[in-house]
Each structure stands twice: as structure tokens, then as C-alpha cells.
Assembly symmetry: C2
Homo-oligomer: 354 residues x 2
């Protein structure tokens, strides 16, 4: 697959690709929430703070319907930079990959059928623990059930997420677990110092290095839920963790919850790999010996400013965009050039139909 | 398959069996509620009226965990006749068939991850319409989404239900749609006259023969939801409607919502076929040309009174028992004798562990 790059463990990456090429894929989209996202300046997902909580359900609705129901428009910055769910939708549709939405602590439920997990949303970790310890246990347990069910129905389970502010909780979790990480951001000027301040405040509250304590104090509901999914799903089938920093935090917790290292790859965009403010590949290597797959969707060649902005450092990844684009190429043998044409078509559709 | 009988369209039944033998199955368990179940004497599911609403979530929990969380015990009559979910659980487990629970209007949500559909529970059709018309549309629409997703992940989607009082709403729906039906019951002395009184009251309220009007006036949320599932799922894969009377009502509505008649079979127990107070096969024939598959689980040979009662006319079917037992035989080529041993083991486990 010339359009997919393999990083970290090259040999395992080759093997992984061989075992899923032309096979059946299933995309699970985990939507969640942390009040950490309400700290001014921490996320670009929803410029208006009252709007942030609608981003995860709106992304889910857009993937299903091609339009949103919880809000009037498709999530997009005022100057036309769209949600990465646009890339995800195009990828899933082009390769006929089925999808399920999982509500793992979203503040607003999506207007479509979804897996309910009864998880509360996460609190602002700069002022209080993100989760009760009992919610961490619940999240892992329910994640294990959902992971087992979905994995039993596919050759490759792709897991993506939508949780505004999630890179900050992911950073806090990794630091709390003793991992030297820096994180990518949905903004071109990564608000590192703001994120680090939040993380420091959270870490000061507790000295415990016990993983569930760390998640409860500094995490969000998505991380333990997806770690649970990974644990059971990787025993049964292949798993692509679709994302950047946040999936590294999932992997860090998965050391405790357990998983089959020979059946997992991270799938992400080249924008995450190339982000010089983060150290993504080093972070992953320090956690696990699994391969990282990346795709360059060549959005620099798009007809539209809003999409070219991705290649200039905006958005970069999210809503499982990288992993689902990789899945679509692997499933039907499409080129990334062809995928870009479809992405441009989709951008054109949503900007003219509104 | 010597242990599976084919009724109605024999040729289509043979073809159906050939196309799913040794293939991948997925069980979807639709739990729902109608206040019609609160009419004294209409159902055996939950002898105590305050308990009836817990039966669907308790069945779902039992299938997943092997015990219930919403109630303290496994649904069973005081003299030891267990919920048919016991047969379902044994079948799914013996053949490693994955399952998902769908909440389509249950009064109580189950304590496990489940598909949420935001449907209200049904009202008592003897005193008021069962559903708003908008809920009927919503149920069909959401059923179509869930059906499409699940069907994309399997070679055969088995759909079962748990809705106490559901045979009465099913009877009302069929009569309202002009079908001459009598129904089976979970009780050996079928309370036909009581059911017919309820149905007459409901039908008197409206003269409309428009199918969605009929469902709104006389139906429950399960029927339109499963009709929606059947509509999209049968376009993609094989479908077993696991149940008796209630699945006949689904088929009756599916004439309007549409489905692929070459990809559907009803799967049920021989106790439904042999029920002389009902006319199940004639009812199905009058609706559609699809095959009916039945299994005789030979519970008359069980070691336990509570299970032998099934062969004496108690319970007969429910929680997708017939369809999942058929699926387990088709998937792994097991005999019904072997399945009975496993059912006896399971009965022994739950009655000694409580």
C-alpha cells in the first residue's frame, strides 16, 4: 500500500496490513465529554463555549446522515475549516464501512440509534478529579462488553473518538502514568503552556501512580472505555486505534487492562506524525511495541482553503479520520488521490447545500 | 438438518438453510414495553404486576451475564418455570453467537451497554392508542438504521424480542390490518377471550386501515422497530425473525415498509407450531410466502419439571428462543439432543447458584 506509511515496528506493521487487506472493517465512534474543554483557549472544536458540547453528537449525526440534527450546521470554523468528521464520512462511505456510535459520557446524546453506556461526562481536571473511581471501573467493564461484541462481527475494528479537550486529559493521563509526552492540538499554535498548566494542577491533587487512580484524577470517560474495548476486541480480531495523542493515552492505560499487542495498530494522519510540537512516535514507542500507520490525505492539493488548512496545522486529526481513511484504502485498494477527490466533492456538497 | 423442520414454503426454506449453514450469526435482542401487559391475567411474564416491566431488561442481563442486575433473581415462576431466555442464552453460548441488546421502548433500561433508540414505551391499547403516529415513523426510521448497521456485520441477523403482553398488541395489529389471526400465549390456557376483548376495544377507536394508523392505534414500539430492521437488513443479508405471533405482526407491517422475501425466515419452537389454540402457519401463509423453520428442543425429555412444563404448553417461546436455537444448530452442526443437555446444565446452574 504505497499511500500508507508504517512507523515504529515496521515488521508488525507489514503483518497487520496483510491480515486486514480487502477484509471486513467496522467503525466504532466513541463520543464523550470533559468539562476541561470549557477552559478558554484549550480547543478549537466549537469556538463558542456553549457549542462545544454539541460537537461530538453533531459529528456522529454528520457521519450517519450527512447533516446534523442537534445543531443547524455542520461543525466548521467561521472561515470554513470543517470538522475532521468530513474526512471520516467520505472514507466510510467510499468503502461501505459500517459504523456504530457509542455514547461514553457525551453531555448531549446524538439524534440517532447509539450504544448507551450510562457513563457520566468528565469534570474539569484543572479544578477537580475528572471521574469517580467507580466510573473508571464501569467504563472499562462496559468497554470490554462492547469491544467483545463488535470484534465478534468484523475482521478489523476501527475505534475513533470525539471528545473536545481530550488531548489535555490524554496528556495528563500519560504524565500521571510516568510517560514523557507532548501533545498535538487542533490549533496551529499549540497552546502547550495552557495545557501544561492544567495538567500540573491536576497532577498536584494526587501522588498515586495506580493506573485507575490516575485516570480518575486526570482522565476522561473515553480513555478507560476505549482501553476496555481494546482489551477484549484484540483477543478476537484486529484493532485500529484511530487517532493521535488520545489513543496513546488509551495504550498507556491498556498496559494495565491488557491487550494482544500483535493485533493492534494506531492509524492516524501524517499531520500528527509531522507535528514538531509533539513527539508522537517517541511517545508511542515508549508505551508499546505496536506499529503506527499513517496516511497523507494530501489536503494541500485540495481545491478548498478550508481543507488546505489541515496541511497548515489546523485540526490535523479527529473523529477517527486517519484510521478510517487508512481502512478505506485497505478495504477497497483505493488511492489517496481518489480519496482526496471524494473529500473535495463532499466539502463542495456541504458548503453549497447549507 | 434433521432437527429443524421447514413449514410453508419448503423450497425457500431449504435454500435459506443452505445459505446460512456454518456461517456467521448475530443475535439482536429487542426489548420493549406496552402497558397492555398490566391488564390482569394477560401475561405470565412476571406474575406480580410491579415486576412485569423488569422482565425485558432482566432477560437481557441474563443473556449477557448469566444473572440479572435489575432484579435479584432470574425471571421464573414460583414453581420453577424459567424465562425462555434460558434457552436463548444456552443456544448463543454453545455456538459463540454474539449479541446486541436494543432498547426499543422498554420502561426500564437494562444494566449493560445497549442500543438506545429514544422510543417511548407503548400505552394500554384497551384504553388509548398504543403510540403516537410520530413514534411509529421514528421506530421504523431508527429500525432501518440499526438493521442496516447490524446486517452489514453478519451472514445472518437473528432478531428476537421481549415485550410482555406483546401477543395481544400483535393480534390487534393483525386484525387491524385485515388478517385472520389467533395467537399463542405464554399460558397453557390461552386467555383468548380476554385478549379478544382488548383487541375489540382498540379496533373500535379507529376505522383507518392505513398501516401506520393501525400500528399507532393498536400496536407497540417493537413491531414498527423490527419491521424497520427487517426492511434494510434483508436487503443486505439473511434474517431470522425469532418468535411466533409477534413476528407475524412484524411481517404484516413489513408489507408496507418493504423487505426482501428471499432472505427472510421465521424461526420458532415446535410448541408454537403445535399450539392448537392458534393458527400460526395459516396466519404466516396469509401474510407472506416466506418459510417458517421450527425446532423441537425436546424439553419433554428434560430432567427438570420447570423445563418439561414448556412441552405442556407453558411459555412455549420468547426472547428469541426458537430462532437462536435454530441458529446454534445451523452454525455448529449441533444436535438438539446435545443442546438439551446444555439447557439442562444451565437450568441446574441457575437453580443451584441462587
Amino acid at each position: 500500500m504505497p499511500d500508507i506509511e508504517i512507523h515504529c515496528n515496521e515488521e508488525k506493521g507489514q503483518k497487520f496490513i496483510k491480515s486486514v487487506e480487502r477484509k471486513h472493517f467496522l467503525f466504532s465512534f466513541v463520543i464523550s465529554y470533559t468539562e476541561t474543554s470549557e477552559i478558554p483557549g484549550i480547543t478549537v472544536a466549537g469556538a463558542d463555549p456553549n457549542f462545544i458540547k454539541f460537537t461530538p453528537p453533531a459529528d456522529a449525526e454528520f457521519l450517519h446522515y450527512g447533516f446534523c440534527k442537534s445543531i443547524d450546521a455542520i461543525p466548521m470554523t467561521p472561515d470554513g475549516k470543517p470538522t475532521p468528521a468530513l474526512l471520516t464520512k467520505t472514507a466510510l462511505q467510499s468503502a461501505s464501512i459500517p459504523q456504530v456510535v457509542i455514547n461514553a459520557g457525551s453531555k448531549i446524546p446524538p439524534k440517532l440509534p447509539y450504544f448507551e453506556t450510562s457513563l457520566p461526562f468528565g469534570k474539569n481536571i484543572s479544578v477537580e478529579p475528572g471521574l469517580d473511581k467507580s466510573s473508571v471501573v464501569h467504563a472499562v467493564d462496559y468497554g470490554k462488553i462492547v469491544g467483545r461484541t463488535l470484534a465478534s462481527c468484523t475482521d478489523c475494528l476501527v475505534i475513533g473518538e470525539s471528545i473536545p479537550g481530550g488531548t489535555t486529559t490524554a496528556l495528563a493521563v500519560m504524565k500521571g502514568l510516568g510517560i514523557d509526552a507532548r501533545v498535538s492540538s487542533s490549533m496551529p499554535t499549540n497552546p502547550q503552556s495552557l495545557k501544561n498548566q492544567v495538567v500540573e494542577k491536576a497532577l498536584k491533587r494526587s501522588n498515586s501512580k495506580e493506573p485507575y487512580d490516575v485516570i480518575a484524577n486526570t482522565g476522561d470517560p473515553m480513555i478507560p472505555f476505549v482501553a476496555g474495548m481494546l482489551s477484549t476486541a484484540s483477543e478476537i480480531t484486529n484493532v485500529i486505534l484511530a487517532g493521535g495523542t488520545q489513543m496513546a493515552a488509551v495504550l498507556a492505560l491498556a498496559k494495565s487492562t491488557g491487550y494482544d499487542k500483535d493485533r493492534v495498530a494506531i492509524g492516524t494522519t501524517s499531520y500528527i506524525i509531522d507535528d514538531s510540537s509533539a513527539n508522537f512516535l517517541e511517545t508511542v514507542k515508549s508505551i508499546s511495541d505496536i506499529p503506527v500507520l499513517s496516511i497523507n490525505p494530501k489536503l494541500a492539493d485540495s481545491k478548498f482553503d478550508g481543507l488546505r488548512a489541515y496541511s497548515e496545522g489546523f485540526v490535523k486529526e479527529g473523529a477517527g479520520a486517519g484510521g478510517t481513511m487508512i481502512a478505506s484504502l485497505l478495504k477497497i485498494g483505493m488511492s489517496s488521490k481518489k480519496l482526496l477527490d471524494l473529500i473535495d466533492d463532499e466539502y463542495s456538497r456541504i458548503t453549497t447545500s447549507q
